[in-house]
């Protein structure tokens, strides 16, 4: 799982490999990057997840970080159900457009209180990124991870 994450996204974002975590439990996820006390991603022993921040490479000020999360489920249907559950719990104020057979080319993007959130269903994977400074970087982080998964024969 860990090797699936690209180390760089264009020239702007670099993976903080020293902050990379692998887990299966939402309790461990919460100790790394809190989403909810409830298991809103339906994590269990049949799932695997990695998470790490992408850090914006800029010359000035404190570096911006966006938290990336990749979860692998048993099968695409489990992944779809988990993403639905996540959306309903985390984004109740946004319409949920995920249905069986959803094959959107672009990630779903949401402007939240702490920045942009993007997610995409990639077969049996869910890719998500939190706290992006803008829509374009959220899209870029998801799309680069998607193309990495495809190169490795996954995510379809």
């Amino acid at each position: 799982m860990v090797k699936k994450l690209p180390l760089e996204i264009g020239a702007a974002w670099k993976l903080r490999v020293d902050r990379l975590s692998f887990f299966r439990s939402h309790l461990v996820l919460n100790s790394i990057y809190y989403l909810s006390h409830e298991n809103i991603l339906d994590l269990d022993l049949s799932a695997e997840a990695v998470s790490a921040p992408y850090e914006h490479i800029s010359g000035s000020g404190d570096p911006k970080r966006s938290q990336f999360l990749l979860v692998q489920y048993e099968n695409p249907e489990r992944a779809r159900q988990a993403l639905n559950r996540f959306h309903d719990a985390y984004l109740p104020d946004y319409q949920n457009e995920i249905t069986a057979g959803t094959t959107a080319d672009s990630p779903s993007l949401f402007k939240l209180e702490d920045g942009w959130l993007a997610y995409k269903l990639l077969g049996k994977y869910i890719a998500m990124v939190f706290e992006c400074p803008d829509r374009e970087s959220a899209r870029a982080i998801i799309q680069k991870n998607e193309s990495n998964l495809l190169k490795k024969g996954e995510g379809s």
Partner: protein, 293 residues
């Protein structure tokens, strides 16, 4: 299918909407809305001494006694420890001491120093008891002195002041995970409410990551007491110290995760005190190295 019950998420913490989302009491009680009145300002006192504990974790009782005396007089504004104690408790009170009893426990020496100080103030020894544990214990007490150890907690963010009374719920497992935000309601139980006369945090050797299990990578000699009569304000200052130490360790901001939602809830939902740093006056005495404030 959407869940009927709203789920507490990171977004609630960021938006400050914890009170709206928190839902029903674990006890099924309706807390009066006036519980959540705006808290006024609070004072938190920190007393440190670099000789309180050495690098081998040996505690110097004499130094602790002096630290306690200074803490009590500063918190209460009284001239001596006897007057300080008697401004907090009545001479005939049954006084319950509530230390953290395991997993980064309160140092025995701290509990002993507090007990001896109470006895020196004229409180009979048989009216000072260990009140940690079963709900039966606080029911027998007129006053409580909370003496938790300072530590982070991997399920609740911080496991110090508010979590100190979790056993009084009679159902501590009910307050882990999602319901950990509701720890403050335990302080409003009829046999607990209003009894806590002093919160004295043992911050000799705090733990700033994960917890409650000890991890020497994240423990250090702070050598202090953090005290006050507002439990939420004391907890907020403890949080600040832990958070700043984490930043020192990593060389970059390293926020607690999960965030300590229980602290904000204790303020805004249960009305136990203030969690707003701008409303907390911190008085510090003694050793200044790495104060973290």
């Amino acid at each position: 299918m959407k869940d009927e019950k709203p789920v507490l998420t990171r977004r609630d913490f960021i938006r400050g909407t914890i009170g709206v989302t928190l839902g029903a009491s674990v006890f099924g009680l309706q807390w009066p809305r006036e519980e959540a009145q705006a808290a006024g300002s609070s004072v938190v006192t920190i007393v440190r001494d670099k000789n309180a504990m050495d690098s081998s974790r040996n505690v110097d009782i004499t130094v602790l006694e002096k630290m306690l005396a200074e803490t009590l007089t500063r918190v209460t504004g009284q001239k001596n420890t006897k007057d300080a104690w008697l401004s907090l408790v009545k001479p005939n009170d049954v006084i319950g001491l509530v230390p953290t009893d395991h997993l980064n426990p309160t140092h025995d020496e701290v509990v002993d120093v507090v007990k001896n100080s109470l006895m020196d103030a004229g409180i009979p020894e048989d009216r000072i008891r260990d009140a940690q544990g079963s709900p039966r214990n606080p029911k027998k007490c007129d006053a409580l002195i909370a003496i938790p150890g300072l530590k982070a907690h991997w399920l609740t963010g911080i496991g110090t002041v508010l979590k100190n009374y979790i056993l009084y719920s009679g159902s501590p497992s009910s307050y882990h995970k999602g319901n950990s935000a509701k720890l403050g309601e335990i302080w409003n139980l009829p046999f607990v409410k209003g009894k806590t006369k002093l919160v004295l945090v043992d911050s000799l050797y705090p733990l700033c990551d994960k917890g409650p299990q000890p991890d020497p990578r994240y423990q250090w000699n702070y050598n202090g007491f953090i005290a006050g009569t507002d439990p939420v304000a004391v907890e907020t200052v403890c949080l600040k110290i832990i958070t700043e130490k984490r930043k020192v360790i990593r060389g970059e901001p390293w926020p607690l995760s999960p965030p300590p939602i229980c602290v904000e809830a204790a303020d805004k939902v249960y009305g136990l005190g203030t969690s707003r740093m701008e409303q907390i006056k911190i008085n510090h005495y003694g050793w200044e190295r790495e104060l973290l404030l």
